[in-house]
Symmetry: C2
Subunit: 136 residues, 2 copies
Amino acid sequence: MRDPLATSPGYSLRRASSAMAALLTERLALLDLRTVEATVMMLIAENPQVTASRIGASLDIQRANMVPLLKRLEDAGLIERTPIDGKSQGLALTAAGTEKTAAARTTIRRFEAELIERVPPEHRAHLLPALDALWR
Amino acid sequence: MRDPLATSPGYSLRRASSAMAALLTERLALLDLRTVEATVMMLIAENPQVTASRIGASLDIQRANMVPLLKRLEDAGLIERTPIDGKSQGLALTAAGTEKTAAARTTIRRFEAELIERVPPEHRAHLLPALDALWR
DNA sequence: TCCAGATTGCTATGGGCAACAACAATCTTA
DNA sequence: TAAGATTGTTGTTGCCCATAGCAATCTGGA
């Protein structure tokens, strides 16, 4: 079958991203975590008492979409919120959350290592800067 | 804010992909096309009388999900189906579909060029092979 | 000090995309 | 020709993201 997409960086980017996302999703599912959740928890771990807004701003997640996300983490006993003032609340990991985040970090580290290993050595150093140039 | 994702190729891949996807989606919307639709039409253009199954296999789209996709293209008068045998049907572009596909191709070409231009020159040649190694 | 405007968290809703299970009709091949 | 594979289809579900709108609260300039 003739494939006009064979040399399209845009298409390859989409496919590579979704392939890798699927792989990571599968791995994190073993911890009963979704990718976004693991990401959010890692951010909270590094920045105790951040607000939902700041997390959202950093990850480009709309405020509205943070709500069910954080609710699920809270219901699972992984994070807790403490009021900062009347409207803001600081986020922090619970003990269980800290433990789960550590596990997630291990999973992610291994995943990233495998990702890089898939790339032929001569291209490896170029991947991150090239990707970053596309969005940062 | 401390950002543990700053050097994560997996995260950068996701962000780059979604940034680029959003840009292309926006451009193709001017033609009243979604990204998948443009992709499917380009594939049909290069392979007249392909079946929905083969398109799906090539793009990793489930058969079930091809149905509404093709229905929309057919309703828009962009593609037509001709029975090959009792169960298979060949897909082809209509005149309108051919025209729209040409427009989409122009849009996509421009988009791909801008994408590559965002990448610092020394990394450009490495992007496609690195990405392809992740999924092909 | 007070008020306009910004910020925060939230509800509700919908679109796009993909996954799964199941089915009937049809083709293929052993 | 019967068993199994293929094709197109329906229906349903889930995730992620976007928008609009709202109430409560904070903040900064007059």
